[in-house]
Amino acid sequence: MAQSAAPATGAPAITPISAKAIAPWAVFVGILALVLLYFVGAEQGATALISGEGVHEWVHDGRHLLGFPCH
């Protein structure tokens, strides 16, 4: 008798959301979010897509206090 992966408890069991339903959101939102995180965390530090120091200087304190390597 195989034990079910989700044991029954007092709380109502939650049906997992199918991976197919999540995949398009995960790809699109994942890429957008990583681009945003890149601009907050690393742009104009180790690498630069935009020349100058404006982005780096603007998010400077946030970058330090979020723990990203800044300069």
Partner: protein
């Protein structure tokens, strides 16, 4: 459940991330800024060849500490909140018999551990005036490598733990998987290069306070996200339990 609830959870995750980002901003502003200011004062007092131009400031210190800091934390919040919400979407009902609130709290705790604490123990945050500009490329690469490695090892540990659970029981399977994770992280710590770039004159107490502040900022963010998102997800999923479709997500501006 259909993709509508993925959408609804994603919207709530980004909203929770925004709120948690605002909380983290308060902590960063009141706890962290004084350390950043003190470090910048030391940097300027030393006034070695810092930067090429010197003098001219692109963004004033006041703007960096308010508008700039808020931008960074709120954008980080929405982006990290969106990703974490999708991870919760996948984890719901798959990691055991946890409800929406417990799942959100567990994922938020795991995120704090894997994307911040584990990399931080090897490559801790540095205040201004600490860190050699020549190694920024290498330090950035290794920091993000450590984040990626920690995430992959955590996912592997969860998968292995779930596989072992039927044979060993939940408690022992969790111990085995967690021990494996700690050992693998320890190996990475031992073999990846370290950096020791703290100047001899830089006060140790300031470095400690700065690093604790960054930990406080990240802990506030993830705790805030876990609790707010858990609350919102719980309301969404449990209120729509009997209904055909979940309630329509409230639009955020």
């Amino acid at each position: 459940m259909n993709s509508i609830s993925v959408r609804a959870l994603l919207v709530r995750g980004m909203l929770a991330g925004l709120i948690a980002g605002a909380l983290a901003f308060a902590v960063a502003y009141f706890l962290g800024e004084s350390q950043v200011d003190a470090a910048i004062a030391l940097e300027e007092a030393a006034s070695h060849d810092h930067g090429a131009g010197g003098g001219e400031e692109l963004v004033s210190r006041t703007m960096q500490a308010t508008g700039g800091l808020a931008t960074a934390l709120l954008v980080f919040g929405v982006a990290a909140g969106g990703i974490a919400a999708l991870v919760v979407c996948y984890a719901l009902g798959r990691i055991g018999s946890f409800g929406p609130r417990a799942t959100a709290a567990l994922i938020a705790g795991a995120a704090l551990l894997t994307v911040y604490i584990v990399p931080f123990l090897k490559y801790p945050a540095n205040p201004p005036a600490v860190g050699n500009p020549d190694t920024i490329g290498k330090r950035t690469t290794l920091f993000f490598l450590m984040v990626a490695l920690s995430l992959l090892l955590a996912v592997a540990a969860v998968i292995i733990g779930r596989r072992l659970a039927p044979g060993l029981g939940n408690w022992n399977a969790t111990i085995v998987a967690a021990t494996g994770f700690v050992l693998a992280i320890g190996l990475a710590y031992a073999f990846l290069p370290s950096f020791d770039e703290v100047g001899k004159d830089f006060p140790g107490s300031l470095l400690w306070k700065f690093r604790l502040s960054t930990l406080a900022v990240q802990s506030t963010f993830w705790a805030g996200f876990g609790l707010v998102f858990g609350y919102l997800a719980d309301r969404l999923l449990l209120s729509s339990d009997g209904a055909d479709t979940p309630r329509v997500a409230t639009p955020v501006g």
